[in-house]
Symmetry: C2
Subunit: 273 residues, 2 copies
Amino acid sequence: MSAAPSRSESVADRIRDEILNGTYKPGERLPAERNMAGRLGVNRGSVREALVKLEQLGLVEIRRGGGSTVRHLHDASVEIIRHLLFVGGAPNHALVAQLLDAEEMVTAGAARLAVERASDPELASARGLVSRLGDPRTREADLPRVISEIVDLITDASGNLVLRLFRNTVRPVLDEALGPPRPLGRGGRRVLAQRVRAIDAALARRDAGATEEAVRSLLRDRRARLKTGPDSRPARSAPRKNPDPRRMRRASPKELPWPATRFLRPSRPAPTA
Amino acid sequence: MSAAPSRSESVADRIRDEILNGTYKPGERLPAERNMAGRLGVNRGSVREALVKLEQLGLVEIRRGGGSTVRHLHDASVEIIRHLLFVGGAPNHALVAQLLDAEEMVTAGAARLAVERASDPELASARGLVSRLGDPRTREADLPRVISEIVDLITDASGNLVLRLFRNTVRPVLDEALGPPRPLGRGGRRVLAQRVRAIDAALARRDAGATEEAVRSLLRDRRARLKTGPDSRPARSAPRKNPDPRRMRRASPKELPWPATRFLRPSRPAPTA
DNA sequence: GGTCCATATTGGTCCGACCAATTTTCCGAA
DNA sequence: TTCGGAAAATTGGTCGGACCAATATGGACC
């Protein structure tokens, strides 16, 4: 199916894995290009190309004369999330939850911008797409894809290139991570139809605030349908004062588990003066 | 000052510029590596390395046997915004406005998450940093940096790696684009102090919703202080029904001007069935 | 112990060659 | 003429070896 990966690609993948699983730790120096080439049995040029790719990913820093060093995951490029999903083997739930959080923020904001600036045809197109979610004829297996396309549409309609580029990175990872949806319960389909009506009505009125909230609700449901895991039952030991209980549903965003945890440094300290 | 750029870096910059200014258009084939090497007077390997970097940026696609082709800006990596800022010569105002929009969305969301999960020390550190904004002893020239650090702190405290990585890309571009602030008017400092009190109060109560709104207000002011340009006077010809006038201040997110406009394709059409 | 310099290490670039995937050219069959 | 397919040209991928320049290392010297 997929084209055979080039040699430099394989090498890049291998070094990337060794970094992510802790073989090479942040701040450490990587073996010299010549050594790696010898060890992997490939030409030095291939190793070079691999390192250049990893440098663009923000995973390593190459310094002429000095060796290459591993950088902290915190300082990498967003693109790194493409490579983070399956680091432990199975999709990392914490990362997926964080992606969904980010997607919700950005999409809600984009929806607001979109309603404020989108042309009537764009809006009509969006309404048509949204209505498919409520249509009983749409197969359940297609729902995730349709939702994904709605988010795309909203993002594009916002006219914000930055959001679009961000989505370019987020979408494929989420699509792969979420996979086929769990079957909607008896009530699930009804709730979905309800969300659809809310979005449609908000769009019809060009009501930015309402659209934002409606889109948020839709995406929240999506997250709730995530495979039940340690994250889905918010284990808040000491409930805190929170005057807005509507927003309590989000998965608790704890730090990523697996090997990469070691990259997570404490928040940068506040300046002393 | 800055280290002399490597040869492959120069080549990458040059090809990137030629793509962004329209010399090579999306979908077109780039000259063969051997030709480019000859034309630029460098070794083919250097051209190769440059192309690999541009491929990681999502600007070109390299296919073994077939040439390299230019990709649409819409499909590039977020990292491309680092290179987009100065394409026309001066900082692109539309892009900066879009960056500020994106930053506001993400930071507001991160603030919510942060309040819900941050430890008390983290919160205290945040409050300390925020209070510096209101302190009359803080020089005006330092205010942008302090705000930038507050956003960093909020982002980190949210515990969301995706948001952190996104910020890694956004922050340097915004810091460079905004540059030294325009002097605050007589009322400006007072308004700032007011924002600071709002954030501090919200943090003290661990009120997620209030914190989110307060942070939003702070960032909005920042955008308002952007250099007056064609963007800052929202030229909305036909005012539309919008029941939430509080949010009307955002710069109208029109398409990017300059040569790159040609990359902006219409929103992807809704599926037909 | 600290400074400074010769040397080793290491990334950056170049040359020339060959392989493999793709594209283009062109000729013969329908 | 048109279409299909084989041959040739084009083009990216990898290799090996060589030299330069920036950095790191270690030891002599003060």
